[in-house]
Subunit: 338 residues, 4 copies
């Protein structure tokens, strides 16, 4: 049984693991003030620019809760799509920090300026929360991605309406490998804060938080510590991100997982299955006949998203840095024979 | 200019004010442990039964935040309609206590068992919040009300699905005056906790919280104190609720405000205006032509809810214990002449 | 039995009640945006200056939680004495908004610059909370008061150390009546935010929050609404504070309660009882022999603070706007005869 | 420069790292529902008993905040010593979940039944928080430890006073290696919940939470997820704890670090330096002359805790699983030559 369930089924990319092994017995100071973290930050700054502050935390829910709680005042809210990770899949972690998540419908997994504006205009006085941040995910929870132009449009709106734009980059590598998607440098121009995900991109764990806007930089380490995101052996985050950003490994991983994903997509389409949401990233959502799913699941594991009717279910295929090419070929063959 | 803006434009019902004056110089202990509070509780218990615990707090947002935060564990959420007061008009007070408000669409301002069930079935594991309470308002934010049968259906669902049912009775008096709406005794059978609103029913301020379910009674005074709802001169709440519940004043107020409201409704309907939401309570929502609104607003104040198009706006008329009969007649005549 | 238990045993000062009666049936807009609130604010500004923002909320715990939560960022803490009301008697209301209360010992109920400085110097990095506000009560929880010079010293320290100074004026009137205590004008020079308590000074309820520092003014009404402090019939607060600030009623009340209190103090001292904490305000703490307490309690109610040994208990006498002069005389006579 | 700064200066114990390498490419399900976590739990249950629930989270602050917030109701507080990690070194993480930390003085770093009782007796009604949990650290923040008898005494008190006892075992291995200290089996009898620290005991990171009391077990995974402690690659925690609990590695590490620590202690004592706090664990606190510290710091790194006077500073020496025996010998020689 080969798993296409998600992009965190294995441990770390061999180069990441090797870096951890090499540095294992070297003594450093704790809590991320070591030289590995410094070096990793320098490496990332080559892409995002020196005007950004960079911090590392362990996981994605933590990163989201820490960033959002650090930015908002108690009565302010964050806007996300109704499929947004912070809205659905973080067990109310944002609300646990005291903030409402305002939701808008989505188009192909993405929020639009019109939908943001609707929420902004509906919240007019002190009897309602005050929208202050827009949260988007790149790539989105449904496998789509924001083009550079789409990002610019959203940022143009948020920056002119006293809103902050936060990009959750849990799967950023997959987007960075796409031509018309924003680069790291673009993100450091057209957002206020974003993350570069490690966990789903070949690290054992770890997310880099890139704070672009000066207003959001102050005392950020206090927020990390309070929300439980400060690792005693903080070096582990530096060592891993250093490995991920040497020789463009991070983007190469994204490119490779997209390529394998596109093979699956092609096999599906040749069989007459259109994607439920447009995607050229490492996540594919498809509405499949249950008997076809059953056949696939003799050899492969895939996620069931939701039943659509008695005969059809929405499923998800995910590729990762670790996805075996032969497994993909075998999967494609099996799809062809459905 | 006579105001039909809301039901808290004046001070207190004369009987309430008189009771406050009469008792003003009597010394009592503080924080609601005085004899007036005891007497008021006894009086209310005659309607709701001795199995209920009763507490008084100052305001509605406070009552909602205190009740909901007292019931839910950190990862649990409350279900409301998207128009629910806790969702829209309390500046994130519920989220400020750490809890997500899950929203369902509404039918005539009301939640349905089907919509509750959809949310319950969609929240399956620890990656999502756990729905644990259903919040409804009686009467609703849109002027409709739940019949006894509707309440029974919802309670039947919640009590068999490990959910608590909470009824926000900010305008309960208006509903109590309706024949097929649940009585106080019904509420103490078919809900877990509910409030009896004073602020919008003739008190200077104050809400009575009636805890029906034994599981929710423990240490409730701690919750009140922590959330800022414990009045030093707690007697003021007892004195007022005692006045409101003597000789059925509370229900008589509801009856009277409904009657005046129905006169306005009739005038509107005779003029060809149908209510936007069905209502036989003290709140009427109507989509009116802007030129008609302008005419009315030469003599009367009414709430603008939202513009519908260039020529039409949804407005609200509200009657209260203090609404002047002659003002209503004059309003009706003005409507007839539109 | 006459009660010297506290200063909230009765309702409202007759002039306050009369103002409520007079305005009872006048229609106003809600939530404190009415003209009574405007007038009361103007009246108070005559004392505190036009540079201050003024808001009214219902109660003291609410005022404290709202102010403190509005000022601090999530990782910041407020400093108080170990006897501070926010530390002991608000059921963790401050912590419920997410903030630590750092405590210092007190001298005669008061914090000192040295003690503040100790805490500031002990909190050096992001592994600890960051002290950002100092909370003091005027008069203090133990009946003492800060002189103008003491206030200046503390403010000189806080303003030069990036700390905000917050003065809880629940019993401010008693202090305003003392010669070398800061006036309202002084408070608006030597603090960042303070409250003028109504509940314990003759109102039915209500505290005025005076925001001095511009940095703390933004969007404050959102904070009030979210924390449950915004009264629908907000006019009630305006009407009461207007009455309290016309013809110096507020200070006259303070003067009168101090005078009566000093009579009790004198009687106690003549009997050989020294105050446990220095006080010329309306609160007296005394360590009395239990048999003397028993004798007093045949005719009077006083608070038991804590047993000191088998034969002695610390008790508290409190006078208020409503304290009956004859009752004080009778109390003094009883003390003389102990 | 060899570091005795702390016990998290290096990466992972070689056996832990080897286990991570071996399993790196095996596909598992995420979020701790994999077989490695199951096996690790089984292994730990052999020591703590099958009546316990076991969960793994990434870090200590996270573990503390998650456990404490999961146990307490909003108005309840946790008792710790003033030196308790949750009180001083977690940036208000507990308060950020809404709960007050009540502090007692300590004796040799430890809380006593008398001190707990004092706090319990001082918190009598709803105007104050309600103490509901006692937090102790084993070993303590100051290097001391609770004997089995001391633990029993505390648990006897807490369990008979409706309090929960929580033992923070960040450095539990060091205590487990001491004869009269409680074993894992003892902890599962005489506490309600405790942690087994990995981070400071040879893991890259990770704490095992052992829930003993049935009342605290419900829905615990929701709490972990909400507080950001659920690792996508949850297997990493299982793999590491499996390695730590095979062949008693965990206790052997504790024994070894204690032995090396005792060598340093002996050298210090021979030089006339008595420990500031009694310790036979891996942490030694000593008040040293500054000139001696300067000499040591030519070759070694040690923590400065606080200056005591112009000539003396309290410092800390820590040994760990990774501490080099030769470095300890060299340190001891240097101490001898001071």
């Amino acid at each position: 049984m080969y798993s296409f369930l998600n992009d965190y089924s294995e441990g770390a990319h061999p180069q990441v693991l090797e870096a951890l092994m090499k540095t294992n017995l070297i003594q450093t100071v704790g809590y991320g003030e070591d030289e590995y973290c410094q070096q990793a930050k320098q490496l990332i700054k080559q892409s995002v620019g020196n005007h950004c502050d960079i911090h590392f935390v362990v996981g994605g829910t933590q990163a989201n809760a820490t960033v959002i709680a650090s930015v908002l005042r108690p009565y302010q809210a964050v806007i996300a799509t109704d499929e947004g990770h912070i809205n659905v899949h973080e067990t109310g972690a944002i609300e646990a920090t005291g903030h409402k998540v305002l939701t808008a419908g989505h188009e192909e997994g993405k929020i639009t300026v019109a939908k943001i504006n609707q929420l902004v205009e509906a919240h007019v006085d002190e009897h309602m929360v005050q929208p202050k941040m827009v949260y988007i995910s790149q790539t989105t929870e449904l496998g789509s991605y924001y083009t550079l132009n789409e990002l610019k449009d959203i940022y143009q709106y948020t920056s002119s309406h006293h809103l902050y734009l936060y990009v959750d980059g849990a799967r950023l590598g997959s987007a960075l490998a796409i031509e018309d998607a924003p680069t790291l440098s673009d993100l450091s121009k057209y957002s206020d804060v974003f993350t570069i995900g490690g966990t789903k991109m070949g690290a054992l764990f770890g997310e880099a938080i890139v704070i672009v806007n000066d207003d959001l930089k102050n005392d950020f380490r206090y927020h990390i510590k309070q929300r439980g995101g400060m690792l005693a052996k903080g070096r582990l985050l530096g060592v891993q991100f250093q490995a991920l950003f040497e020789n463009d490994l991070y983007i190469r991983i994204g490119k490779q997982e997209n390529e394998l994903s596109m093979k699956i997509k092609q096999a599906l389409e040749e069989k007459g299955y259109q994607l439920a949401v447009q995607s050229i990233t490492n996540q594919l959502f498809v509405d499949m006949k249950n008997k076809d799913i059953e056949r696939l699941e003799k050899d492969f594991m895939i996620s069931h998203i939701k039943p659509l009717d008695k005969e059809t279910t929405r499923v998800r295929f995910v590729t990762s840095w670790a996805t075996d090419k032969e497994a993909v070929e075998k999967l494609c063959q099996t799809i062809q024979q459905l």
